[in-house]
């Protein structure tokens, strides 16, 4: 394979600067010792990270986001496993339509979903509650859980299952001891990707969040609407740090390009 020329490398360098500049500037400003937005020129300070502790709404929002993401992704994965097995192994009428329906939250703009959920939960009296937020997040992250589980179920070696059946395994034992362990890497990477999507979701959640159940992106967004100060940069920098950590772990175990393009089948 031929190497990149100097012009290509120059383009590449500028491109990487473009991609990283906004993220780096947030992280740098977070360390400013000044009381206003500025790049730290006179040394670094952690004062704005300490300041987060004085704003319980950010801390609270972080816990809401964490719980919401973990539980919503778990429920989505629980719904996704049977659905993925059905789509991967059975050919039935309406199979294409069904998978289109299950992936539809990717295609429907989140602002439309937010409005639809707000209307629905207002009519059913659930508006402004955590269960409402949870149900909405389960639906929105479901496609991510489904796609990676589906990839694992499609690529699975069925002969192991047949061996288990021939040895007298019942259908529940077969699922619990053979099928589930085999597709588990796909399920877990689906869960992880679903968690990240839930943790970052703003557009739909902003319609459903109420005081006390605001997620971190919603809290940050509403804060930025009023004013931009170093506090929100230190909160953002913390979020970026946590995401980077998750990212490196995800890449180590599953391969980021596979996870993001919906092929959770590395290592086979």
């Amino acid at each position: 394979m031929s190497r990149n020329g100097p012009l290509a490398l120059l383009f590449h360098t500028l491109f990487v600067i473009f991609m990283l500049a906004p993220i780096l500037v947030v992280c740098l400003v977070a360390f400013t010792p000044e009381g206003f937005l500025s790049l730290p020129t006179q040394g670094f300070s952690l004062r704005w990270f300490r300041a987060i502790a004085r704003y319980p709404e950010f801390i609270n929002a972080f816990w809401v986001s964490l719980w919401l993401g973990a539980v919503a992704s778990l429920i989505a994965a629980a719904f996704a496993v049977p659905a993925a097995l059905a789509i991967a192994r059975h050919s039935f009428r309406g199979r294409e339509a069904l998978s289109a329906l299950f992936l539809s939250p990717l295609m429907i703009p989140h602002v439309v979903l937010g409005i639809a959920f707000l209307r629905f939960f207002t009519q059913t009296g659930l508006s402004g509650t955590f269960p409402a937020l949870l149900i909405a997040h389960v639906v929105v992250v479901f496609p991510f859980a489904l796609r990676l589980t589906l990839a694992a179920a499609t690529g699975m070696d069925r002969s192991v299952e047949m061996a288990a059946v021939s040895l007298g395994a019942g259908s529940w034992t077969l699922f619990r001891r053979v099928t589930l362990p085999l597709i588990l890497p796909g399920v877990i990477s689906g869960w992880a990707l679903a968690f990240i999507q839930s943790f970052d979701e703003l557009t739909m959640t902003v319609f459903l969040a109420a005081p006390g159940i605001e997620t971190l992106p919603v809290r940050m967004f509403l804060y930025i609407q009023d004013n931009i100060d170093p506090l929100v940069t230190s909160v953002s920098a913390s979020v970026i740090a946590v995401t980077m950590l998750a990212l490196v772990l995800l890449d180590r175990f599953f391969g980021l390009d596979r996870v993001l393009s919906g092929h959770g089948d590395r290592g086979r």
Partner: protein
């Protein structure tokens, strides 16, 4: 990287890609209701019914004092049709989306090609650097652009002026220019990912064959590489366009309160003006327009590049 994947890679966030063919051996033919039913019921109850309710809502009446009145009238739709404000807003929304898509295609496709020619370790590292931002909070990324743009003496303007690219500072905050640049940044990973996936299916020997037959570098790019990655660029463009046209956080933070796009206008009608029926009509129109555009262009691409998708 063992990358010669056989099936066409479904685009990450595009319209329902065709489900993979069921694995042979022991595949049932009847509908496996016990497996399908839980998720199906969830989706009917929490996606289809709320969407239907939203469509109905757009036909309801609303008044400042009477609130929402459950009648079936065309008032909101007529208002959107007749008031030029909405036309201008939708034109702005799609103009921003088209420009952001063009920028991601013009920068993202070459970058994916360059990435693909790198040596193993660097390839993996830069792929992580470029795709990683996809998972970083959109609010944090947009905040970064707000800091870089910040006022007439923002970092971007200072850098561009010291390089002699521009003579006077360009206003980025609260302008379409700023929204387009920030959106292009937010959406870039989708384009790189899509072109990257297309490049994995390209046989590098074809390039070598062309070179041995005397083709220059420009000819190889234009006649060999570009046609093969075009499906990737186009499916990436569909993803970027539809996500840009419905983007909320970036236009809201960079564009401010005056520069409205469809998503921020709908948000305003719902949570500030409280005119839910009008907001619902804007949202339904956005959904219908996007579905038509995405389904239409998907069909065109699949017809044009049928052999690639086979």
């Amino acid at each position: 990287m063992t990358a010669a994947s056989s099936a066409p890679q479904p685009a990450p966030v595009t319209a329902a890609p065709a489900a993979p063919a069921p694995a042979a051996g022991g595949a049932g033919t009847g509908t496996p209701w016990p497996l399908v039913l839980p998720a199906l019921m969830l989706f009917v109850a929490v996606v289809l019914i709320p969407l239907a309710m939203t469509v109905l809502l757009s036909f309801n009446d609303w008044g400042q004092y009477k609130g929402i009145e459950q009648v079936f009238i065309l008032k909101n739709w007529r208002e959107i049709w007749e008031d030029d404000y909405f036309l201008e807003m939708f034109l702005r929304t799609f103009r921003i989306a088209v420009l952001a898509t063009l920028i991601t295609a013009l920068l993202g496709a070459p970058e994916a090609y360059i990435l693909n020619r790198m040596q193993g370790r660097w390839k993996g590292f830069f792929l992580l650097v470029i795709l990683g931002p996809l998972l970083i909070s959109v609010v944090a990324r947009t905040l970064g652009w707000a800091l870089l743009f910040g006022g007439a003496n923002g970092v971007v303007n200072k850098a561009l002026m010291s390089l002699g690219v521009i003579g006077a500072p360009i206003p980025f905050m609260f302008t379409e220019t700023g929204v387009v640049v920030a959106l292009a940044h937010v959406m870039m990973p989708f384009m790189v990912l899509s072109v990257w996936a297309a490049l994995q299916r390209v046989d590098p020997q074809i390039e070598n064959a062309a070179m041995s037959l005397g083709a220059g570098h420009a000819t190889i790019l234009r006649r060999i590489v570009l046609p093969q990655i075009m499906p990737g660029i186009l499916s990436g463009a569909i993803i970027v366009f539809s996500l840009s046209a419905s983007a909320f956080a970036t236009p809201s933070i960079i564009g401010g309160r005056r520069l409205k796009v469809a998503a921020t206008l709908a948000y305003d009608e719902f949570l500030n003006t409280l005119n839910w029926p009008l907001g619902a009509a804007v949202a339904v129109l956005l959904l219908v327009a996007l579905v038509l555009i995405v389904v239409g262009s998907n069909a065109l691409i699949e017809r044009r590049y049928a052999e690639v998708f086979r």
